[in-house]
C-alpha cells in the first residue's frame, strides 16, 4: 500500500503524522523532565511499532526493517531517549521471535500490544564492550535456573516488565528472559547519564532469582554470539537510524540559526567558514542516511554483507551526529552552552551514539574485518 505522494507505506506515513502531532510536544516535555513517561508505550504500540520486528504469524505487525529504521529516524529527531526504547524493545522481541521457546513466543502479542515492555540486560560494571568479562551466573537447579548478578545501564529498565539477561553457566554463556515480578529481582534507577538522560536507565539486581527452564533463550554456549551478537547487529542498525534523526535535527537547528542571525553586517550563512561547516555536515548527514537505508535493505533482503553494511552505517551515523551536534553548538555561541538547552542535550546525546551498541573504536575494528573479507571475496572470486 502506498501513501499519497511519496510511495511511502501507510503505516509509516501514519506514524510520521503521529510523531508530528502528538509525539513532538510530548517529547519536549520528556526531554525537559529527563524522563520519557509510560504514555509513550500505548502510542508506539498503537502505531504498530512495538510489534514491528515480530512476524504477523506470532502476533506482531511485521514491518520491513527499512520502515522500522525510518520510524527510528523520525523518533530520533524528536527524542533520542525515546528512540532508544525502539532499539531495546525491538532487539529483545526479535530475539524472542527467532530463538524463544514456545511459552516465550506466546508472550509476543503482549509485547507487541504494549502490555509489556522488554529491555536488554547485557552490560555489567566491568563488562561493557568486552562482554567476555561477564560475571553474572546462572546455575541449573531442579526445573530451571538460578540467576545471580548485577546488570547496569539498562535502557528503559525502569519501565520494563521483562529483561533479556545474559549470564554464564557451566555449559557456557546463556540468555534468559527474566520478569520484573520474579522473586529475587530488584530494579532501581541508574546514575543519570548526560546523554539519553530521559531513557529511564536502571540497574537490575538478581539475587538467586529462580526462573523455569522455558525461560532459557537459545542454548548455552551461544548467547553472546547467536542471541546477543545478532541482537546487537540489529541494535546497531536502529542506533544508526536514531543517530541520523539526531543529526538531522541538529543540522536543521544550525540552518535555522544561520539564516536568521547576522553578525558583522552579514547573515551568518554568508560567512565562508560557516558555509564550509554547513556543507561538511550536509555531506555527513546525507551519506549516513543513505548508508542506514542501504543497511536496512541488506537486512530485508538477507544480504550476505549485512554485518558490513550495518557497521558502516553505525559508524557513519554516530559520527554524523557528533559532527552535526558540534557544529550546531558552535553556531549557537553562548546560547549553545546553556545547561539543559536542546543544543546541549543533543551534544550529550550524540556522545552516547559513539558508545552504545559498540563504541567507535570497536566498530572500526569490526568493520576492518568485514572490509578485508569483502575484498577477499571479490578479489579471489570466492563464494558469492
Amino acid at each position: 500500500m502506498s501513501g499519497p505522494a511519496t510511495g511511502e507505506p501507510e503505516h509509516l506515513a501514519a506514524f510520521e503524522a503521529l510523531a508530528a502531532d502528538k509525539l513532538a510536544p510530548l517529547a519536549e516535555d520528556w526531554e525537559r523532565a529527563g524522563a520519557v513517561s509510560r504514555e509513550i508505550v500505548p502510542l508506539l504500540a498503537g502505531a504498530g511499532l512495538l510489534g514491528a520486528l515480530v512476524p504477523t504469524a506470532s502476533g506482531g505487525t511485521g514491518w520491513s526493517h527499512r520502515d522500522y529504521g525510518e520510524a527510528n529516524r523520525v523518533l530520533g529527531a524528536l527524542s533520542p531517549s525515546a528512540q532508544s526504547l525502539l532499539t531495546v524493545h525491538g532487539m529483545v522481541t526479535q530475539a524472542l521471535a527467532r530463538w524463544g521457546s514456545a511459552p516465550l513466543r506466546a508472550l509476543l502479542p503482549r509485547f507487541a500490544g504494549g502490555h509489556a515492555v522488554a529491555a536488554f540486560a547485557l552490560s555489567e560494571a566491568d563488562a561493557g564492550s568486552d562482554v567476555r568479562q561477564l560475571a553474572s551466573t546462572a546455575e541449573q537447579v531442579d526445573g530451571g535456573w538460578r540467576l545471580t548478578g548485577v546488570k547496569r545501564w539498562i535502557s528503559f529498565g525502569q519501565l520494563a516488565d521483562a529483561f533479556l539477561v545474559f549470564a554464564r553457566t557451566a555449559a557456557g554463556d546463556a540468555a534468559f528472559l527474566v520478569r520484573r515480578d520474579d522473586r529475587g529481582v530488584t530494579v532501581s534507577p541508574e546514575a543519570r547519564t548526560a546523554g539519553l538522560r530521559a531513557a529511564r536507565l536502571a540497574v537490575l539486581e538478581l539475587d538467586g532469582c529462580t526462573v523455569p527452564g522455558e525461560r532459557l533463550v537459545g542454548r548455552p554456549g551461544f548467547a553472546l554470539t547467536q542471541i546477543g551478537g545478532r541482537a546487537l547487529t540489529y541494535g546497531r542498525l536502529w542506533v544508526a537510524f536514531g543517530a541520523v534523526g539526531l543529526a538531522e535535527s541538529c543540522h536543521r537547528a544550525t540552518l535555522e540559526r544561520i539564516t536568521t542571525q547576522s553578525r558583522f553586517g552579514q547573515p551568518l550563512k554568508d560567512f565562508q567558514l560557516v558555509r564550509g561547516l554547513v556543507s561538511d555536515t550536509e555531506l555527513a548527514v546525507r551519506s549516513a542516511r543513505l548508508l542506514a537505508r542501504q543497511a536496512a535493505t541488506a537486512s530485508d533482503t538477507a544480504s550476505q554483507w549485512l554485518m558490513d553494511e550495518v557497521l558502516a552505517a553505525k559508524l557513519a551515523a554516530s559520527r554524523a551526529a557528533t559532527l552535526a551536534a558540534g557544529v550546531c553548538a558552535q553556531i549557537h555561541g553562548a546560547q549553545g552552552l546553556v545547561e539543559d538547552s536542546p543544543v546541549q542535550r543533543r551534544l550529550a546525546d550524540a556522545r552516547v551514539m559513539e558508545i552504545i551498541e559498540g563504541n567507535t573504536q570497536l566498530v572500526q575494528d569490526l568493520l576492518a574485518d568485514q572490509t578485508i573479507a569483502r575484498w577477499r571475496a571479490t578479489s579471489r572470486g570466492g563464494v558469492q
Binding site: 530463538w99 557456557g172 537459545g218 554470539t225 551478537g229 550476505q304 578485508i372 573479507a373 571475496a377
Partner: protein, 86 residues
C-alpha cells in the same frame, strides 16, 4: 535457495567462506574454530547465516550446539544431516 551439492562441495564452500576471515584455510578441516577462539563472535553469527542461505537448511534453537559448528568438517556433517543424507 537449496541446490544439490555433494559433501565435498559443501566443504569447499565452507572453506572458501571462512577464508574470507581467516588467513589460511589449508589443512584446517578439523581445527576447532569457535572453541579454539579463531572465529570472532560476529563471524560465528555470519557462518550460521551463510549455512542457512547457501545450503537451504534451517538452524533451529536445538541445533545450537558447539559440536555442530566448531570445525569445517562438523559443519559439513551438520549440513548433510539436516539435508537427510547422513
Amino acid at each position: 535457495m537449496a541446490v544439490e551439492v555433494s559433501a565435498d562441495q559443501v566443504r569447499d564452500a565452507v572453506k572458501a567462506y571462512l577464508g574470507r576471515f581467516l588467513d589460511d584455510m589449508d589443512g584446517m578441516e578439523d581445527v576447532d574454530l569457535i572453541s579454539g577462539g579463531l572465529l570472532d563472535s560476529l563471524v560465528a553469527v555470519q557462518l550460521i547465516d551463510f549455512i542457512q542461505n547457501r545450503f537451504g537448511v534451517t538452524v533451529d534453537d536445538e541445533d545450537l550446539e558447539i559440536a555442530n559448528f566448531d570445525s569445517v568438517n562438523r559443519v559439513v556433517a551438520f549440513v548433510e544431516r539436516k539435508r537427510g543424507r547422513a
